[in-house]
């Protein structure tokens, strides 16, 4: 390949026609093909999202008729309808519910996971090896094996139809992925940094709060974004625990649209689905480099 190019390029600027402007090299042509192929692929991959966005502007009568991207008669009626809410609950309420759960869960995850990670990465105490192995084991455990006993437990504690079953586990570092991510990050930080602090007389608590936490900021940001998005999207836990519509987070509220109005009010269903995605898409646009880097280095799943 390279030899071919070397032979051809000096031949290219033949005097006569366009001597000043050489024709495309083999490499440029390859790059152009590469670019076109990937653009086509991007269009296919992102089409469902674009279709969703454009469909929110379609009138109800267009569904089943006009499956293209462009609405025949663009309208904001769907948004007006969705903001009025469903089952007597306004949309902003579902949105707020989701935000409360996601923010509390993210805070709990960051706090408990960073503490556990510090213990695993930096403190040599009896039993650290066994517990670390147990933590790795829970990474691979199908969590469906614990949902029934957990449901029974939260039921006995009288916590059904409250946010406790959704938030409390996050304060107990049950998502091993984040513990693992932070342990890996802390192991990459030179020990001298925190040992210096310890020599100066700082205890573990001081070392953790004033040395370690600032140093693992990138891991904290990545964890925060993923934790927020996963909680925001979570469907199973609220499906099990939340029973009154005014407490529904968005995914369960969407089900309300999907079940009750899918035949009659397609526009509202699609629009509510899009609104539920907006915070995630915004997060993605702002933090995409963080997210992709997080996946690349830690193998986090989306």
């Amino acid at each position: 390949m390279s030899t071919l190019r070397e032979i051809r390029t000096p031949v290219e600027p033949t005097p006569g026609r366009r001597a000043d402007k050489p024709r495309f090299t083999r490499k440029q042509i390859n790059t152009a093909i590469w670019f076109v192929v990937l653009m086509a692929f991007t269009a296919i991959v992102l089409y469902p999202l674009l279709w969703l966005l454009m469909s929110t502007f379609k009138d109800n009568s267009e569904f089943g008729q006009n499956q293209g991207l462009v609405p025949n008669d663009p309208t904001l009626d769907n948004y007006v309808k969705v903001f009025e809410g469903i089952a007597g609950v306004p949309m902003w309420r579902f949105f707020t519910n989701s935000a409360i759960i996601a923010i509390a869960a993210t805070f709990g995850t960051l706090l408990s996971s960073s503490m556990a990670a510090y213990a695993f990465a930096r403190i040599r105490f009896r039993g650290v090896g066994i517990f670390f192995a147990a933590m790795i084991g829970t990474l691979l455990l199908p969590f469906h094996v614990v949902i029934i006993p957990q449901y029974i437990m939260f039921n006995n504690l009288g916590m059904i139809d409250t946010y406790w079953p959704l938030i409390l586990p996050k304060f107990l570092a049950t998502e091993a992925f984040f513990v693992f991510l932070m342990v890996q990050f802390m192991r990459g930080i030179p020990r001298e940094m925190d040992e210096a602090a310890r020599v100066d007389g700082a205890g573990h608590v001081r070392t953790f709060t004033s040395i370690m936490l600032p140093l693992i900021q990138p891991a904290l940001v990545t964890s925060a974004i993923f934790s927020f998005i996963w909680t925001w999207n979570d469907f199973l836990a609220p499906l099990m625990y939340i029973t009154s519509p005014e407490k529904y987070p968005l995914p369960i509220a969407l089900r309300l649209y999907n079940d009750q109005t899918s035949t009659s009010d397609y526009g509202a269903t699609v629009t509510a689905s899009f609104i539920a995605l907006i915070p995630i898409l915004l997060f993605f646009l702002v933090f995409q480099r963080f997210l992709v880097a997080g996946v690349a280095t830690q193998g986090l799943k989306g």
Binding site: R124, F131, V146, I147, I280, R289, G302
Partner: protein, 327 residues
């Protein structure tokens, strides 16, 4: 030796060391108090995780194992029935069907998804310009793929007269909607999984960046073609990443729930073709109140996943090459 070293250790590692009585061995004292302090700090920092691990994982797992040998509906106390739940699974056609479609979903979906991820990663690795944009675009579906919104979109796109049906009809393929079609609904679910190839792709891409360019240059000199280079350089160099992706994707695929639940409105239909393992488990536990039977199903899943992970780890020695031990 006993006089100088302990003094240093005492001064640096124990704040109370200066007042330690000189009559007892100071080294022993500080060592012990240091160990004690480390243990205290360790368990202190680990307390939230420990409470979660025991209270929300280990004890529930043991309890679930106990429940799997009982008949239990949450209202009356569990009644011991031995292995009946496990025997019942093998006689329950709905269960066996859910095992079958979940197995097809995993066996067909995971390889296609990983092949797409590797293919696109190699394509992205070919040139640098604009690769960041493509990488982010392809990753986006992984982030939202499990959401209810996407399940609703997917159902709309593959329904009768939806965009997919319209497009295929345009090319003369009049197959109608995929959602209600017994033969097409599982392929549709697999497509939804494959659409989320971005997460493994990003991991493959990170792996591809680690492959030394000299290997390909040397292969070029030897006149190796692209297929030979892929088989002899790319795949072996990526084998650790392939293993990692394979393990995570298989475990993830076994647990597919919300998209199937939403697309079938919780029914697992048509004809049980979206009645994936966890969907059926959920229905048995929370719709029918058969917590004992559902616990047995959950434990069967844990055992299958554990066996698969074990087999993967064991066989990985034959095909996974870690950098450094290849020579």
């Amino acid at each position: 030796m006993t006089s100088t070293v302990p003094r240093a250790a005492e001064a640096t590692e124990s704040r109370g060391g200066d007042n330690a009585p000189a009559t007892r061995s100071p080294r022993h004292e500080t060592q012990r108090s240091r160990h004690w302090r480390e243990n205290l700090a360790g368990y202190g920092f680990l307390t939230p995780w420990l409470v979660g691990f025991f209270g929300l994982t280990l004890i529930p797992m043991v309890y679930s194992l106990y429940l799997s040998f009982t008949s239990y509906n949450i209202f009356s106390p569990p009644e011991w029935i031995g292995f009946d739940n496990y025997i019942r699974m093998f006689e329950d056609p709905v269960y066996l069907n859910s095992v079958k479609i979940t197995a097809i979903y995993v066996l067909v979906g995971v390889p296609i998804k990983l092949a797409a991820a590797l293919g696109v990663a190699m394509l992205l690795n070919y040139r640098d310009r604009g690769a960041g944009f493509f990488r982010s675009s392809f990753y986006a579906p992984s982030l939202i793929g499990a959401s209810v919104s996407v399940a609703i979109v997917w159902r709309a796109m593959f329904s009768t007269d939806g965009p997919v049906d319209d497009t295929l009809s345009f090319f003369g393929l009049e197959i109608g909607g995929w959602v209600g079609n017994v033969a097409l609904v599982l392929p549709m679910m697999i497509l939804l999984a494959v659409w989320q190839f971005g997460a493994p792709m990003v991991i493959f891409l990170a792996g591809l960046k680690q492959v030394p360019r000299e290997l390909y240059e040397a292969a070029d000199m030897d006149g190796a073609g692209p297929i030979r280079k892929f088989k002899s350089i790319t795949l072996p160099m990526l084998s650790a990443v392939v293993f990692f992706n394979l393990l995570l994707e298989i475990i993830g695929a076994f647990q597919v729930f919300s998209s199937a639940y939403i697309i079938s409105n919780g029914s697992g239909g048509p004809a049980g073709m979206t009645n994936f393992y966890t969907v059926y488990l959920y229905k048995r536990a929370f719709t029918d109140g058969q917590m004992g039977y559902a616990s047995a199903m959950a434990w069967a899943l844990v055992i299958v996943v554990a066996i698969l992970a074990f087999v993967l780890f064991r066989t990985s020695k034959m095909w996974v090459h870690y950098q450094g031990d290849s020579k």
